[in-house]
């Protein structure tokens, strides 16, 4: 193995994972290999198990069968407190109890670091909020914000949690469950550019997306759930072909080239 290949060796992976809740099969036979430094989009129709896969990869849910491995060790062996220092998960929707302000919520992202605070601890919250354009909402009560504003606050919280590279060199992982679903057009694209920038700094970014065009434009790699032949993983341009899209989503699809040369799809 050359050193370049070694660098691209998957660090977060799951093999033949199955998740059941009672009699219901939420995720069947899923195997993915994720590398840091890139944006991976998890795609698939409703109920295909995207969020389940993300929760398994985050360590939030134990798979019924199969295993998840991070840095060559089973994920469960890392311990939730140690994982919290290097892995953040932005939830799809999150009801917050009590009247916490947006700034309070972003500050909770620093909870795992309270025993070993960074030198610029107070700056981190403000800078994370600036990145997701929620500085003006800092003193507003979270529960009074719109869905998109809430999503940007939770994104800022996830970024605050992972703000500094780990002193031990451990890879940081940013997992996001439909981060763009509630955002307006401009914020969708600025959020995706932000994720690309974080990936460029070596963070592993894994996002559940519904918008195939966003995935086509910003994701290095896609994981498609819900195809007849099972899970598909690979480079975005190779996997996300019109035939697959029609087979998985049942939508006729026509590729067009956008002004900047990126391939996008027209549906119907």
């Amino acid at each position: 193995m050359t050193s370049a290949e070694h660098n691209r060796a998957p660090l977060l992976s799951c093999a033949e994972v199955e998740v059941r809740m009672g009699a219901k099969l939420l995720l069947a036979n899923a195997s993915v290999n994720l590398a840091p430094g890139r944006v991976t989009a998890i795609l698939g129709p409703n109920g295909a198990g995207k969020s389940t896969l993300l929760s398994v990869l985050s360590g939030q849910r134990e798979p019924t069968r199969g295993r998840v491995v991070l840095d060559g060790r089973p994920l469960a062996d890392h311990g939730m407190a140690a994982l919290a220092l290097r892995r953040a998960l932005m939830p799809q929707e999150s009801a917050v109890a009590f009247d916490f302000t947006a700034q309070d919520i972003v500050a909770l992202g620093r909870y795992p670091h309270r025993r070993a605070p960074a030198r610029d601890e107070d700056d981190i919250i403000g800078r994370a909020m600036a990145l997701t354009d929620v500085t003006a909402l800092a003193t507003r009560i979270l529960n009074t914000l719109s869905g998109g504003e809430k999503a940007r606050v939770h994104l800022a919280r996830a970024l605050a949690q992972l703000w500094h590279p780990r002193p031990d060199g451990a890879t940081r992982w940013l997992l996001l469950d439909e981060p763009t679903a509630a955002l307006d057009l401009a914020h969708q694209h600025s959020a995706m550019r932000l994720l690309r920038a974080w990936a460029a700094q070596g963070v592993g970014v894994v996002a559940v997306l519904h918008d195939l065009n966003l995935a086509r434009r910003y994701a290095d790699e896609v994981v498609v759930l819900g195809a007849a032949e099972g899970l598909r993983q690979g480079a975005t341009a190779e996997v996300l072909q019109p035939e697959l899209i029609e087979a998985v989503w049942g939508m006729p699809c026509q590729p067009v080239s956008s002004a900047d040369g990126t391939l996008q799809y027209l549906f119907g």
């Binding site: 939730m80 009247d99 909870y111 309270r114 003193t139 009560i141």
Partner: protein
């Protein structure tokens, strides 16, 4: 957005209020003591001169002081326990009384009073009030677990389920206490009545010290739960992803609440609504951060109980109003206003 007071302002303000409530409680009552007399009593205690104690000396040290201290400890414990339950249930309407913890403790205490001699022929003589406290603790503990189990769904608790389960448990407890009152002797009946209405009248130094110890230990243990409870406001799943040991936090909160509420209820009977009102008012003033809500609710709870007890023993002196009746008169309107405020989320 609302302007929030700083941590220091809120804590200093509550301590000032507590000092005022304590002084007011100390000088008023069936036997009025003037401020200068109070000062003389405190000074003579400080000098340790016993000699020939004045009547106000005897009244203050033997009757009023233990009662004031019991009131402060009970109020602090209830305010703190209310905050813990609300943080754990992620729900501002959780109150140890409303969701049945106090009545569970009272029912267990009632069983001990009426049936104790029959159920444990040997124990009550030797362990006396300790059996009562242990039983009240057990009753509160079981109810807390039951309510938590019943009202949990999808990683959170459902407000409506929790309140309905509380209604059911309160109904069961009052039926149980009704049944016990039929079986009770006259003396036991008076004891039972005392549980249901709540009173600081039973303040004897031994009981006061027991409650103080239980409340002090509970508050000390609760302090470490403030930050995890902030994270749990995001939901249990998100808190776990931030590295909070959610199960351990829950276990601790439940045990702490049961210890504090059990010890308080075993000594004072049911004092409702303090655990609901105190944290609610603190949150309105200072925001929901548990690092300030926990200590400030304990202080404000102490203020509320002291103030209510002072009213209870002065308005119809020398007779007394039951304390629990008074706290309900204050608490129910506040609760109804809160229901109105939170109606969209039930």
């Amino acid at each position: 957005m609302s302007q929030r007071l700083g941590f220091g302002t809120v804590l200093c303000g509550s301590m000032l209020l507590l000092a005022v409530a304590f002084a007011t409680g100390a000088i008023s009552g069936a036997y009025a003591i003037s401020l200068s007399q109070l000062w003389n009593v405190l000074a003579s205690v400080g000098q340790g001169s016993a000699g020939n104690p004045s009547p106000e000396h005897l009244v203050f040290l033997n009757i009023r002081l233990p009662r004031l201290i019991l009131g402060m400890a009970a109020g602090a414990g209830l305010g703190m326990a209310g905050t813990l339950m609300q943080g754990l249930f992620r729900n501002p309407l959780a109150d140890p009384g409303l969701i049945g913890i106090s009545s569970g403790a009272a029912l267990a205490a009632g069983i001990t009073i009426v049936l104790g001699a029959w159920l444990w022929p040997v124990l009550p003589r030797t362990l006396g009030s300790w059996t009562l406290v242990a039983m009240a603790f057990g009753g509160g503990f079981i109810v807390t677990l039951l309510i938590y189990g019943l009202s949990r769904s999808e990683g959170g608790t459902r407000m409506a389920l929790m309140l309905l389960a509380g209604i059911a448990i309160n109904a069961l407890a009052s039926a149980g206490l009704g049944l016990l009152s039929v079986m009770a002797t006259d003396e036991q009946l008076r004891s039972l009545q005392f549980w249901l209405l709540g009173s600081l009248g039973g303040a004897r130094w031994s009981a006061v010290l027991l409650v103080c110890a239980a409340v002090f230990l509970s508050c000390w243990a609760a302090a470490s739960l403030a930050s995890p409870l902030n994270a749990i406001a995001l939901g249990e799943a998100q808190a776990a992803l931030l590295g909070v040991d959610v199960e351990r936090t829950k276990r601790r909160a439940v045990v702490i609440t049961a210890v504090a509420v059990g010890a308080i209820t075993a000594t004072t009977g049911i004092i409702g609504f303090i655990g609901l009102i105190a944290p609610h008012w603190v949150r309105m003033l200072a925001g929901p951060d548990h690092r300030v809500v926990l200590p400030a609710s304990a202080l404000l709870g102490a203020v509320l109980v002291l103030a209510a007890d002072t009213v209870a023993r002065t308005v119809i002196a020398p007779a007394e109003l039951p304390l629990g009746v008074l706290t309900a008169f204050i608490g129910v309107p506040v609760f109804l206003l809160m229901l109105r405020h939170f109606r969209g989320r039930i």
